[in-house]
């Protein structure tokens, strides 16, 4: 077995036992990246020299018996919308193609404390707007299970890298499904924490009230470990919550007896692919066998979540992206005679079509005369959705749904039809609107050999129950025996 095939918790054990070194692990990844990434195209930039230097330093410290973190020397890939001092943070946009971050995101500060090694920055839909990574201004990322298909998005690079074994684990961000949906399409674990659990400081904002950073990993244990590293109150983010110290690995218990799981019927109906639907029913059956109480339930207001999402997210985005004006940093058009032209031309040339569409929708819904009908109403419906979650979680510990209505679709299939693309997120978007946590766990392959994942949704700040149920499923099944084939890619 190659080093790049191990999970992080296995690598940690091997490092502790002296069976390998950080340098060996890191080099194994860069060799693999050179071999595989030209096909998958998950990385926007790699940081080989810095990574290997860091790995050597950690190995020396470990050898010299200096106290080092258990995760010291473990490589990681970072979605390219999180700032690492001195490295490019592009958001896969022409606007920030040459932007070098002058500071560290809080999650990066936390990983620095543990001496993790950065492999590079991962591709995404421009400014995290999209569900296929085809909206990257640089190049699309391919799905390792079929190179003619999309990896999902917006954290497509983060998901594909884990699936292709070109990163042991990665960080992504999730505004409407951007961690879970690509995790599902690529057959990896992806966790969106409760809004407020992980600091957003240093994450380039898309929609401030919805964005959350979270882990994409090979298994549930790694997800709990990475969550331990990034969660916690941050005084630089007023919306982050102080829960004190938590160890999420304690939730990794193979036991779901008596756990109450609700299946909202709305997510097994129209618009959900038959094979996906069957897979979810199989998962439900498995949970029942394992001792959980599984019941059908209803989440009717969920049908409004997508509308609410595209109003609130785009409203916030239209304001958040105002700072990309060509004045202080980022792309500035060469064509201008006056201030208005700097703004107009820099933004017209620097942003891609999907980003412009979102800015226009967001500007529209906030405009005077439309604010009450759109933004204000959407906020009211958001409260209704939150209340509906509260009610369901009075009855159930978890909700089970598909993560994505379909498995990975072909490249180009939806990229010219925004509305159809937006439907790729119908199962994941309500979770962000409610602010609650959810995970994608891979469960099976469809007839085309493409991964199917299920989503477990929990109550706010109860990541433990999600992790416990996901871990139990994993312990009683064997999805990880499947490996991506890297087929296709010739078209």
């Amino acid at each position: 077995m190659e080093l790049y095939e191990y999970t992080v918790h296995e690598l940690v054990e091997m490092l502790e036992k002296g069976q390998t070194t950080s340098e060996e692990i890191t080099k194994s990844y860069f060799d693999r990246i050179k071999e595989i990434d030209p096909k998958v195209k998950a990385y926007v930039s790699t940081l080989e020299d810095e990574a290997i230097a860091k790995a050597k330093k950690v190995d020396e410290d470990r050898k010299a018996g200096k106290p080092v973190s258990k995760f010291a020397g473990i490589p990681i890939g970072i979605k390219d919308n999180m700032c690492i001092t001195g490295t490019k943070t592009t958001c896969s946009s022409k606007m920030l193609e040459n932007f070098v971050a002058p500071y560290d995101a809080t999650v990066i500060e936390k990983l620095n404390k543990e001496d993790l090694v950065y492999l590079g920055k991962l591709n995404m839909d421009e400014f995290a707007m999209g569900s296929s990574t085809e909206h990257s201004a640089f190049f699309p990322t391919k799905n390792p299970w079929d190179l003619d298909r999309v990896p999902g998005g917006s954290s497509g690079g983060s998901a594909a890298a884990v699936a292709a074994d070109i990163a042991p684990w990665t960080l992504g961000s999730d505004t409407g499904g951007s961690i879970r949906q690509p995790a599902s399409l690529c057959g990896v674990v992806g966790l969106k924490p409760t809004y407020g659990l992980v600091s957003r400081y240093g994450l380039v904002a898309f929609a401030s009230s919805l964005d959350q950073i979270g882990p994409l990993t090979k298994d549930v244990t790694d997800a709990a470990m990475l969550l331990n590293l990034i969660a916690g109150h941050d005084e630089k983010d007023s919306t982050s919550i102080d829960l004190g110290e938590k160890d999420y690995t304690k939730a990794l218990v193979n036991d779901v007896k008596g756990m109450r799981i609700g299946i909202p019927k709305e997510y097994l109906g129209e618009g959900i692919n038959e094979e996906v639907k069957q897979a979810i029913l199989d998962v439900a059956k498995k949970y029942e066998e394992m001792g959980a109480i599984v019941e059908d339930c209803s989440f009717e207001v969920g049908q409004y979540a997508t509308s609410v999402y595209y109003i609130i997210a785009d409203a916030e985005a239209s304001s958040n992206l105002g700072r990309f004006d060509g004045i202080r940093y980022g792309y500035r058009s060469e064509k201008y005679d006056n201030l208005k032209d700097i703004y107009k031309n820099s933004r017209s040339e620097g942003f891609g079509p999907e980003v412009k569409r979102r800015i226009m929708i967001g500007t529209y819904v906030l405009s005077s005369g439309y604010y009450d009908a759109y933004y204000k109403k959407a906020q009211k419906v958001r409260t209704v959705i939150k209340n509906a979650y509260d009610e369901l979680f009075g009855k159930y510990d978890l909700l089970l749904t598909p993560t994505s209505p379909t498995t990975a679709f072909k490249m180009g299939e939806k990229s010219n039809n925004p509305l159809e693309m937006y439907l790729a997120d119908i199962c994941t978007v309500p979770v962000n609107i409610g602010g609650v946590p959810a995970i994608n766990v891979p469960c099976s392959l469809d007839s085309q050999g493409m991964p199917i994942g299920f989503q477990l949704i929990g109550k706010s700040f109860d990541e433990e129950t999600i992790l416990r149920a996901a871990y139990s499923y994993e312990q009683n099944t064997n999805f990880r025996q499947n490996k991506p084939t890297f087929k296709g890619g010739n078209s």
């Binding site: 971050a101 400081y201 007023s238 916030e316 304001s319 004045i327």
Partner: protein, 479 residues
Amino acid sequence: MAREDYEIVIGLEVHCELSTKTKIFCSCSTEFGGEPNTHCCPICMAMPGTLPVLNEKVVEYAVKAGLATNCSIEKNSKNDRKNYFYPDNPKSYQISQFDKPLCYDGHVTIETEDGEKEIRIERIHIEEDAGKLNHDEYGRGSFVDLNRAGVPLIEVVSKPDMRSAKEVESYMRKLKSIFEYIEISDCKMQEGSLRADVNVSVRKKGASEFGTRTEMKNMNSFRSIVRAIEYEAERQIEEIEAGNKITQETLRWDDVSGRTFSMRDKEDAQDYRYFPEPDLVALKVSDEYIENIRKSLPELPESRRKRYIEEYELTEKAANFVTGSKYYSILFEESIKVCNNPKTVGNLIMSDIARILNEREEEPEDLKFGGSELGELVILIDKGTISSAIAKKVLEELFNEVKMPSKIIEEKGWIQISDEGAIKEVVMKILENNPQSIVDYKAGKDRALGFLVGQAMKETRGKANPQMLNKMFLDELNK
């Protein structure tokens, strides 16, 4: 119709920079000046991914301002984004407050020729200041300086309750003095710490509807505010008299030409697309918090003014003047502790000290000497050690160098001559040298006495006790 048939209606939006040590959403210094872009960080430069954290001192200062101006405090307040593009606005939105300002429904009392008048305050909200654009004088472009970006401001919005430029000045001075007393701002107008957007309209006296208003932004001296209002009201009346309509617009006041100019290019109706700031949590203040701030407030000018009249028997005019500035008030109270003569201290502040400051183009806050110096000066006057003429000279000296007045008069040799023998000597000498004056006096020309006293003062370089001189001359002349 004549000019007198019109009434001017003025409302003000006063921006006041708060004197917190750090900015409103980051820990950068709020200090004025400094090389461009040296008081900034990724947050106030709006680097991608940065987030604001509200400085609690800003809330405290704003609540102070609200309580000192009789406002109600909103216990469930929030911050909102005001979206617009301008190079001095790095995030392309300003974090401000829209529909739930921290303070609302207050008032201040001003003194007018017709007595006291209440000016209502609609709201006070917190927001961040913008940066500054420096335009290259050779036309090579404009440079953005973000030192000021994120400096905390309160915006005080009045009702359109003012009816003359004079009332506006009184209102602004009142706010300035209140904010100085409660120590939330240095209120330095020349540094832009206190500035106003002035809304002016005119209407026929007795009309119930307001006329169309124009707005003059960022006015930062009392003098230009008064001139601008007078000019703009006159212009509007002339337009109306000529049968034209007033356009609602933003005007630029030009101090040099003394005119207002239309800024039409900025007139495309701005839609700021306000919405609640999602990066900040709701701004909640408790009753207890508000009460603690209320208890911590110092005595405000209104109460001081009344006390000075009752307790110290100052005239209404002197009491108004002395309490008009915190710095005068402090000087007054410290001085009377030393000399126990409120009347003379009050008069010196109102007349001589104010005059000298004015000549030097300085403000009360620039005063360098304090109560121990002014108090001693009054004691020296009361004891007859110096004349009031010398006292003025001592004051001038105090502006140049802070020293005890007794030391100044000693060094300068300004001690009043009250020795009978010495004065007699001078009187005899002057009489001897001016026989004609004696003749004139005897012939009934009283002016001659004044001339002789003047000569004696000249001889003693102002040091002779004038009452003694007068008496002695009379005694000699009437012999």
